[in-house]
Amino acid sequence: MSLILLAKALGATPGKTKQDLNLFRRILARLPLGGNRPVARGELTDDGNDTAEASARPQGAAPSAAPPPTVTAV
């Protein structure tokens, strides 16, 4: 504790060190969140496209505008 208080006086601040960040990167790399994981239908891809729409349109065609929402009176 004495050493921490001295380090604080010298300007140290709490935060993530490079070592922490490397550890988090290693953890993230092992989690099935991105990378090579296949994107499910209807899920947004990294570039923001809707995969449901992307898979429905011909390859190379520009994405169409989203259909207007349907309002149903109850």
Binding site: M1, S2, L3, I4, L5, L6, A7, K8, A9, L10, G11, A12, T13, P14, G15, K16, T17, D20, L23, F24, R26, I27, R30, L31
Partner: protein, 232 residues
């Protein structure tokens, strides 16, 4: 001194049973460490003789289970308090050059301890002008015994170099009451306000000195327990 203040009939129970004495200190951050030491000492006998406690709390049972694993056998597991400084991983975002004076006994050792514990700290013992960002002034019984130190501190103050003071309280390292420095420090420095600015940081031995939250060096720090399990 503590023994002398204790009533005679209690002295054998307190001082002669091999109990570790835990100091209770004025500064809150140190008090948290003292509380942890007390909590760990309080749980240890239960763990060593489970029959003495009919229904230990589940957390103690978990610890007791850990102690039967080869990795932890014969060790104790340190407690930690959420938010305590030792769990916050302090670091320097920019390089810090700490100047220590060879005329200040103990200063270089302390600065080297800091450099070993934190990245981005360089220790400089140069007496001439250098690229120092701070000066570390280590205060113990021997401080100010060398006249050169007063001149160097005066020059550092004149150069607007930030002076960080460490007040040693460990008797084995020449620790003493802070009031002693008002007798030993050159009057010119006292009158110049050396002790009026930033407070000196107290240095205590043992668990109160460490950077890490663990009394026993575990293969991974408690904060990274979950992360370690994921990476294993």
């Amino acid at each position: 001194m503590l023994r002398a203040e204790c009533p005679g009939d209690l002295q054998p129970q307190i001082f002669d049973q091999g109990r570790a004495l835990t100091p209770w200190l004025r500064i809150e951050d140190f008090q948290i460490v003292s509380l942890q030491i007390i909590a760990e000492a309080a749980t240890s006998p239960v763990l060593q003789s489970p029959r003495s406690c009919r229904s230990p709390p589940p957390s103690l049972l978990t610890q007791a289970l850990l102690f039967h694993m080869p990795l932890y056998r014969g060790k104790s597991i340190a407690t930690c308090v959420p938010g305590e400084l030792r769990l916050q991983r302090f670091a320097f975002s920019t390089s810090v050059v700490v100047r220590v004076s060879p005329a200040n006994p103990g200063a270089e050792e302390l600065a080297n301890e800091l450099a070993d514990s934190f990245a981005n700290i360089t220790v400089s013992t140069a007496e001439e002008a250098d690229d120092a960002t701070h000066m570390l002034l280590y205060l113990n019984q021997e401080t100010w015994s060398d006249e050169r130190l007063a001149e160097q501190v005066k020059k550092a103050r004149a150069d607007k170099l930030k002076i960080v003071m460490a007040h040693e309280n460990d008797p084995d390292r020449g620790g003493c009451e802070f009031s002693k420095f008002f007798e030993t420090t050159p009057q010119e420095l006292i009158a110049g306000g050396l002790y009026n600015g930033d407070l000196a940081r107290a240095c205590y031995p043992g668990r109160h000195h460490e950077v890490h939250a663990c009394a026993v060096r575990l293969p991974f720090a408690p904060w990274s327990l979950r992360a370690h399990a994921l990476c294993a």
